[in-house]
Each structure stands twice: as structure tokens, then as C-alpha cells.
Symmetry: C2
Subunit: 622 residues, 2 copies
């Protein structure tokens, strides 16, 4: 550990600031990275160049571990703490280890939740950088998304004002097609070597995107919790201020651009995915893409540095990539493919530990069926985090609400509530086993948990087919507190992998959704509402039916209803609508209303955050 | 030069990418900066820690040179090229030199104008980084501004929903005032050591900000040219989506936070200025500040790294700070105070060359009366950039419009037009002389300019009191092309400085505005419209009358009317309204309508920008 362990455990930021950080250059050197392989961002962060991958591509992969959780309470069950903790534990028992984790949004950092760098003696440091701008990747995503949005409204306005001839002249002033225009020519089946060769009809079809303002699905984004801009009318003012229409702002991490950044496997792949992004349709219902708008190149330029993973360290001084952070409901909620591709080779002979968002039904299923499918990497072990608190909630315990003191039921021994809630752990273990991967249960022990409670959970986990359940005390004890868990992970990774996807891509969209609903969520079937039925047909016609499925569903229940705890049964899953993230490369059926822009509470955590002007240090960040 | 000079001159990006960049660590070392004094951002950018200042504060100041211009055409007259060029020229003749320049907004980079790193053989490199995210400072400004905006609307919503008692309980759950609350207690004249001691009336006054939604002057910001969000209605949706009101988005560099970043002289000063930012008033017309909202600390945390200047290099391999970029119309349009404070000591014995926005009536006047007043630094010389093209325009030449080919009148010798336009050069020289600073005129020579034309300008400049006029060929020839100009700057800097401000701060607001209007703009007087008259009284009552004046006026004329070229006479300056940037520390009278959010043209320059997937290099950035 690069920090001395104290008891009682100080605040997260006190621990982080007390750490004796290793220069990131030194950590990079241990990984075999030269100064030319990295770009330093200060002394404790570096971006790693992707061309390193070519040099190390023939090394054997490290063991690949995904940390997931049972269905959480709204407070979260310590998945990030455990992800970092099991990594530190692996280091403690003498293994090489690399941690790959998502970058959190700044919104929650200043809103209700606070930071997301882990906690206690299980953190990524420097935690201020982790929780704030880091190296600016989220800002780059926002800039790219918003450049695209501005391009859409500007194009609508200019097309309204210009004749076909003037539009053609404006876009191709020297009677030459720009390089990116050939994709659109091909799509429209037009062959011409220069604009003046186009027939009047083809000129119109080619230059006039004719975007239907009511079809636009692209929102603008901002990395702040700002409910007031969820629904807005833009384009007010005069003729020179665009055209009025209703639209909205999402938080930046909900942008499809973020999902693309997380799934792109190379700069070329990034460029192509950006180009495929669909912003809406024309008045004939044909999709309009970022490539059609001529902005995909500029967006890629804005993202070129963001595509390089950010190297940081854990409190054990071990390497960590912090890279990309797509929403785990409307997107796939997993850190980047390129970070894992690099780390699994850089730590060859060791362990790559990563985390997927929310519970096993949410982020883990997407980790397997979307992320692993994209990267081609095969996982060896799943760590399933659970807490006695969450299990009691699933057993019928009182409602858990952020910002309101926890009910005493959660702080006293209550074996009955716990027993009733074990079903949720069992169901989540079964979900993981369904993919052919061994499961190690990590019990994130709170000070109020009793030995009897722990023993019950251990027994249930084994009975459900897990390799075992192990108490994690990484928050209070650092790497030593994760040793037992780490040993179990090592043992599980030695088992032969029987990894399989949940569904093949070439099934019809409807079948893929039904498999997820019945086999993962335990529904009896799926009810497709009319909008969703129309999309089944539309997306099949458009050729999007070979994409994987990214269910947009609450993380607070195995079902679509956040109030149904435990293991909901005897229900059908309603699918309200289906949307397509063609650039990211998935369809996302909507099961309920997904909020893509949080709000600030009556007392946001930003009220505690300030600079100590004597030391220049940040205070109050949690 | 770190690049070989070719003829014909290649594109800006080709030149920049061909340069053999010096590691920034090496440049820092030459300046006496250790590895602990800087934070590297890759190999060619670094942030410099402000605590360096304490160590070098007793060194003599370098000579301080401001580059300004005559009243420009909408195309700009090469001020940045000349700023970098004269710096490179000083290096060429054996002087130590440091260049301090603003960071450009990404909006124009992708809109009409393209990049702003200079051009030809007079550039800051790497030009891609310069024109794109750099080290994320503008993103940090946007994040801070938008956190404040979200805090405003969230507060309005929560105050609407909560009783005084519940509001007090939410904000002080443990009956303790947060540290930042004492400023508000003092402002309201309330003495209490804990919330429960407050009378019902004081509790209401203290906790309820009672923001008048119609008074809010704070806009949200985004770093994209996006006219469609200039005027928006926010807060639509349901009860949980905030309260509807009309507002707007500005481009990020127009944020008061950017002006603050540029004027703050230390982290402490930054924290205090942020706290003083006024977002609007309560229903009793009292100003409501960022401090009142409890968000000033968090905003400062978001800006702590942004306050450190960014070290880069010119094509002569000399050091350059690229730092802050406030709008030059509603803000003061000058790069940061901290960069100049550091550079003037780091290059002690040499020359610090900086640039102010637009013409001498705009950015230079603000450079002297606002920036120099804040920094306490005294300039030694002004370089006045002019072009034959602009002088001809002032002489009555045809209208110059961006994106439309230049009229032949500007490409052929036309001594008559030129002679008629010389008055604008003379007026701008006199403006600079008014401050007691010697003026060196730089003629940014275009290939079509004739020797006879150059000779006329030289003669006129000398007659107007300049030290002389010198042809700058830095664009085509690099540092050698700036040698003659550099020699003239050296000579001018040897003259004793008689620097004086235009006005003392303790004059009434009205008088300060009248001095600028009559002595700088050549108006006969000022007409204050009723809104402006009301503000004269209001701001005097509020104690803002000791602030300097930051005129918000078109840069395309010495007057308020962009179509009046040459030297407008016999007119009165209309002041429509006056606004206050209390955090930045200036009042800005509005002379005409200032656009604070540009739009995208029918063919934005982003259409030329892409990544070369073979080399990973950016193409098409200009």
C-alpha cells in the first residue's frame, strides 16, 4: 500500500491525499511502456498510445475478471470499492494485476452521490483528478456530440434558405466532392465524379438532407446535473437564430458518442462508428448520419486523444486504466474496450479486473453480450458483490432512500429478512453461470453485519453454484482485506472457461429480446407495445437486426419495475419502444422511462466542496 | 526555426506538422523551471505551477510589449501572426523572448474562421493542440459556469417546494452553518452561531434566496457555434423538470468565468472573484451571488488546474504561454494576468510579447485600463499591426465579407484609396500614444502590396508619432521576416515609459464612459438610454462604481456602428444599457447588440477536417 492504514478510517479524500503516490512514469516503465508510449498529464496520470497494442499483441492474455453485483439498493453496494479491493488483494498475494474502470460523470460528483473513485483504503488516486476533469475525455465527448447537434440545426436552417443550386454551390464551391461525400453518393446509388454532373433530381437528393425536425433523436449534452434543460425549446429569436423546435439535453455520459468511445477498438473503428451515428431521418424516413452531415471527421479529431486510455494507480500502487463511462441503462455501462485490450496484454501472466455497471442483469449481461463480443476477449471469472443490507431489502426490508438515514432494520441482526432476500443473490449467481463463467461472491461487510448473517450468505452462495462467498474488508483494511477474496479469484480463474454468449446475433430482434427477458429477468414473456412493434419492422428493414441488444431497464429490480424486489415472478416484460445506437452498434429497447439527465437535490454535495487556500488542496470531495 | 522554410508557403498544418518540436521539458528547463514546477500534458505542452512566482518575484521585469491593430476588416489583419512573428524576430536578433497569447474557442475553429495559432512560418505549435482542447481550460470554464447555472435553477425549484423550515433543515441538516454561509450572514447583518438561533424572519431572509427568475443574467455556455440555442425556453416537462423560463446559451469564452480566469492573480483571488459573481437579483432587487448559492468553492475546484498557464512553443522554439481567452467585446479580450506575471519574471532581461483583441480602441484600451491595472505590470511598447487591405477599406473600398472573394480593388495598387484610409492608422496610433507608450507600426505585407503603397504607410505612421513602420514578412519567412520589426521594438522599449491610465477608477461611472467615448472613439459625447441611466444609479448605489469600464462595442469601427469606417466624426455614442461583471471586476456598457453565440455557416470548416487513418494525423485544420 502507498498509504498507512489508520483506524478509525479517515475520509476518502484524507486517505487519498495522504498517499505517497508513485510517479506514473515508474508504473508505466514496470509495464514495459517507454516514454514514447505514453503522454503524461501531470505526474500521476498518463495516456497510453494505442500503437503499443501492435507490439504486444502476441503475448498471452491475462486472466480476465468482471466485478458485478446483486440487484443493488439505490445507495450502491460497494462494487467499485470491491473492484479496486480485489485488485489490491491480488497484489497482496503476489500476483500481477491491472484494474480497468470507468470514468465517472462530474454531474453526480457535485450532485447527490459524490465521487466514484472507490472509498476507504480501496481507491484510485489521485481521487480529485479521477472525479474531476481527469484528462478531459468526457469534455471531448460533449464537444463532439454538441458539434454534431449544432451541425444538424444549422443544416436545417441553411437548407430552408437556399435553393438546390445555391446549396450545392455552398457545399462544393469548387465543383469537387469532399472525400466524405462519396459514402453518401454510394448510399444514394449516384455515380458522378463532380457536382456539376448531377441531374437536378440527384443534386437535390444528394445535397438536401431534408431532415425531419420531428425525427431528431440526438440531444445536446452537458456534464452537469441540470434537470431544467431536460426539455427545452430552441431556435427562438429572429430568423437568424435557427428554427424553433423542442429537444432536450442529456448528461454527457448518456451520449451515444460515449458509448462509441467505450466500444471502438481502434481509431479507424472510432471514425467509422462516428460516421454511422444516426441523428434522425429525412422526411422520407431514411436515416441521416453524421457522415451525411460531413462532421464525422471533425468529431473524430475531437476524440482522437480521448480514445487513449488513462493510466492511474490504486492505493496499492498497481496500474489502473480509467477510461470511458457510458450510461449503464440506455448504454452498456462498461469501461472501454481499448483499455481492456491493452491491459490484458500489458499484464500478461497476471489479472485484469474490470467492473460492469449495476447488477448482473444489467451491466454484466451487456459486458458479455456487447463488450466481450466487440473486443473478442473471454472472461475467466465473475466477482458478485453483495451486501447484507441489500439482501435484507430484497427480503422485504423498509425502503432505502438516498439522503434519508437508514432504517434500523439494516443495522441490527435480522436473519429472517436476510433469508428471504437470499433469492436475489441466487438469481444473480445463476445469471452469471448462464454464461459459463465461475462466480466468486464478495460480501462487502459493513460494521453492523453479524457473523451469523455472514454465515448464512456464504452457505446460500455455495448452494447456488458459486465457488464460495468471501468477506471483503478492503474499505477498512486495504489490500490485506481483499486477500482471501483474491485467492478465491485465482482459484476460479484456473477453471476451464466455458464462456458462451446469451444469444447469437443473427436471431430476429424479437427473439433476442425475449431470450434476455425470460432467461435473465425471469419474465414469462415480452409485450411489445405498438411503437416497439413498428421498430421491430423498421430496424429489420434497415438492416439493423444483426446488432446486439442493450436493454434499457431499471437497475433497482430484476424486472422493469424498480419497486419489485427479490426475484420478481409471473410477469411479462413490457417493451415500450426500441431505439437504435447505430454508431455504438446496439439496439436499446425501452422498458420503462429512462432518465438521461439527473437533477440537483435541495442540498447538493457541491456545497461541501472547496479549495483550502493555504494548501491549495481540495476539501469536501467524497 | 524548428522547421525548414519552403516556398511557396505550404498550408499552416503542413508547416506545423513538419516542425521538429523541442520537448517542452527542455524549454521549461531553459527558463529555470524544474520538473516539479510543471505538469506535462504530453511532450509538447505543460502547465506551470503558480508557486513559481514567489521564488522569482524579485527578478527585474522583462520589457513588456502589446500587439494591437488598426480597425480591422472582418477577415482580421494578422495580429496573431505578427505577435508570434515579432517574438520569433526578437529571437532571431539574439534576444530572450516569451509570447503570451489567448487560447481560441473551438467554436470558430470548426465554424467560419478556422484556427488561431498564427499562420505560415509564424505559429504556435503543436497547432492541433492549440486549436482543439489544449489542456481543457475552456472545458473547465464551461463546467464551472454550467454548474452555477444548474445551481440557480435547482435552487429556484427547491425553494418553491420547501417551507422555510424544511429549506433550513435541508441546507443545514445538522444545525451548523457551512463555512461559506458566513459571508451571507454578514451581508445580511445577521449574527447567529447556528441556524436554530435564527428568528423566523432571519431564517427566511438567510435561507430563501428568492431569486427573481426574470432577473437572471447568467446564461449557460457551450464551446460550439450553435445559434439554435441562443434563445431557449428551459424547464419544460413535468413538475420534476424545473420551472419554465426563457434564457440562452453563450459560447464558453463569453462566460464571465473566462473573464475571471483571465484576470485572477492567484488561486485566492480566483476564489474571491468567483464568489462575487452575480447571477441576478432577488425579488427585492438585491444581487444574488455564487457565494450565496454555496457553489463558489466547487467552481474554484473545477478551475484550479485551469488557472495554471499552458507552456507551448513558437516555430522558433521559443516559449509561449497560451492561456485564457475572454471575448473581446463583452469581456476584455486579453490573455491571462497570471501568464504575464509569470512570463515577465521568467524571461527577465528579455521581452514579453502579448496580444490584445481587435483594434487599439477595443482590446488595447482594455489591456491598459483593465488588465494592466489588475496585474500592476507596465508596458513598454505597442506594436500596431496594419494591412494595406484594411487601410483601403477605411479609405472607402468595397465591403469586405468573409467567405466571399476579395474585391480586386484590394489586390491592385490604389494609392488614392490607401491615402484616404490612413486616417484610421493615425487615429489608432494616437490612441496608443494617449497612454504614454511608444508605438511601432507593423505592416503585415500581402503579396499584392506594392512598394509605393508601403512607402506611403511608413511616412504616415511616422508623421502620426509612431517610432516608425516596418514591413513584417514573418508569415512567409519566419523569424528572419520579423528581424527589422524586432529591432524597432527593442529601440522603442529603451525609451522611458510614461505610462498612464486613461481614467482614475474613482470617477463616476458616467464620466469614465464619457472619457473613453470622446478620447478613444472620437465621439462628441454619450447618450445614455433610460436602461443605462437606471444602471448608472443602481450600480453606484450597489458600490460597483469603482470598477473599470469594459466597453461592449463593435470592433469593426472606431464608433458603435460597424459600417462607419475611417475615423467617424460628429456623432454621439449611444449606450443602450450597462451590465456588471462583478466577479471579473468591470462594468460593460452596451453600445449596440453584442452577439455572444456565433452560428455555423452553410459550409462550416469542419467539413474539411478529418483524421488521416494511415498516419493518425489531423488533416484540414487551418
Amino acid at each position: 500500500m502507498i498509504v498507512d492504514i489508520k483506524s478509525p478510517v479517515p475520509s476518502d479524500i484524507e486517505i487519498a491525499q495522504a498517499a505517497n503516490l508513485r510517479p506514473i512514469r515508474e508504473i508505466a516503465a514496470e509495464l514495459g511502456l517507454s516514454e514514447d508510449d505514453i503522454d503524461l498529464y501531470g505526474k500521476y496520470k498518463a495516456k497510453v498510445h494505442l500503437d503499443v497494442l501492435e507490439r504486444i499483441k502476441d503475448r498471452p492474455n491475462a486472466k480476465y475478471v468482471d466485478v458485478t453485483a446483486i440487484t443493488p439498493t439505490p445507495l450502491g453496494e460497494g462494487k467499485t470499492v470491491t473492484t479496486i479491493g480485489v485488485s489490491q488483494g491480488l497484489h497482496y498475494i503476489g500476483k500481477k494485476v491491472f484494474t480497468c474502470i470507468r470514468q465517472p460523470s462530474q454531474g453526480p460528483t457535485f450532485g447527490i452521490k459524490g465521487g466514484a473513485a472507490g472509498g476507504g483504503y480501496s481507491q484510485i488516486v489521485p481521487m480529485e483528478d479521477f472525479n474531476l476533469h481527469l484528462t478531459g475525455d468526457i469534455h471531448a465527448v460533449g464537444a463532439a456530440n454538441n458539434l454534431l447537434a449544432a451541425a444538424v440545426d444549422a443544416r436545417i436552417m441553411h437548407e430552408n434558405e437556399l435553393s438546390d443550386e445555391k446549396l450545392a454551390k455552398a457545399l462544393c464551391p469548387d465543383d469537387r466532392f469532399a472525400p466524405w461525400m462519396y459514402a453518401r453518393l454510394k448510399k444514394l446509388g449516384i455515380s458522378a465524379s463532380k457536382p456539376s454532373e448531377l441531374s437536378a433530381e440527384d443534386r437535390r437528393r444528394f445535397f438536401r438532407l431534408d431532415i425531419d425536425p420531428y425525427s431528431i433523436t440526438l440531444n445536446r449534452v452537458i456534464d452537469v446535473n441540470d434537470r431544467a434543460i431536460r426539455n427545452v425549446i430552441i431556435g427562438l429569436g429572429t430568423k437568424d437564430d435557427g428554427r424553433p423546435r423542442q429537444t432536450g439535453f442529456d448528461i454527457t455520459v448518456a451520449s451515444e458518442v460515449m458509448a462509441i468511445l467505450a466500444l471502438a477498438s481502434s481509431l479507424k473503428d472510432l471514425r467509422e462508428r462516428i460516421g454511422r451515428m444516426v441523428i434522425g431521418t429525412d422526411r422520407n424516413k431514411n436515416p441521416v448520419t453524421a457522415e451525411d452531415l460531413g462532421v464525422a471527421g471533425a468529431m473524430t479529431v475531437l476524440l482522437k486523444d480521448a480514445l487513449m486510455p488513462n493510466l492511474m494507480q490504486t492505493l496499492a500502487g498497481t496500474p489502473a486504466f480509467v477510461h470511458a463511462g457510458p450510461f449503464a441503462n440506455i448504454a452498456h455501462g462498461n469501461s472501454s474496450v481499448v483499455a481492456d485490450m491493452l491491459a490484458i496484454k500489458l499484464i500478461s501472466g497476471g489479472y485484469l479486473v474490470t467492473e460492469s455497471g449495476f447488477g448482473a442483469d444489467c451491466g454484466m449481461e451487456k459486458f458479455f453480450d456487447i463488450k466481450c463480443r466487440t473486443s473478442g476477449l473471454i472472461p475467466n471469472c465473475v466477482v458478485m458483490v453483495c451486501s447484507i443490507r441489500a439482501l435484507k431489502m430484497h427480503g422485504g426490508g423498509p425502503k432505502v432512500v438516498p439522503g434519508i438515514p437508514l432504517n434500523p432494520a439494516y443495522k441490527q441482526e435480522n436473519l429472517e429478512l436476510l433469508e428471504k432476500g437470499l433469492c436475489n443473490l441466487e438469481a444473480n449467481i445463476k445469471i452469471a453461470l448462464r454464461f459459463g463463467i465461475p462466480v466468486v461472491v464478495a460480501i462487502n461487510r459493513f460494521v453492523t453485519d453479524t457473523d451469523a448473517e455472514i454465515a448464512i450468505v456464504k452457505k446460500a452462495a455455495e448452494a447456488a453454484g458459486a465457488e464460495g462467498a468471501f468477506v471483503s474488508e478492503v474499505w477498512a483494511k486495504g489490500e490485506a482485506g481483499g486477500a482471501e477474496l483474491a485467492e478465491a479469484v485465482v482459484a476460479a480463474c484456473e477453471k476451464p472457461s466455458k464462456f458462451q454468449f446469451l444469444y447469437p446475433l443473427d436471431l430476429p430482434i424479437r427473439d433476442k429480446i425475449e431470450i434476455i427477458a425470460t432467461q435473465i429477468y425471469g419474465a414469462d414473456g415480452v409485450d411489445f407495445e405498438p411503437a416497439a412493434q413498428a421498430k421491430l419492422k423498421l430496424y429489420t428493414d434497415l438492416g439493423y437486426d444483426k446488432l446486439p441488444i442493450n436493454m434499457a431497464k431499471t437497475h433497482l429490480s430484476l424486472s422493469h419495475d424498480p419497486t419489485w424486489k427479490g426475484v420478481p415472478k409471473n410477469y411479462r416484460l413490457p417493451v415500450r419502444d426500441i431505439r437504435a445506437s447505430v454508431g455504438a452498434g446496439f439496439l436499446y429497447p425501452l422498458c420503462g422511462t429512462m432518465r438521461t439527465m439527473p437533477g440537483l437535490p435541495s442540498r447538493p454535495v457541491f456545497m461541501d466542496i472547496d479549495i483550502d487556500l493555504e494548501t491549495g488542496k481540495v476539501v469536501g470531495l467524497s
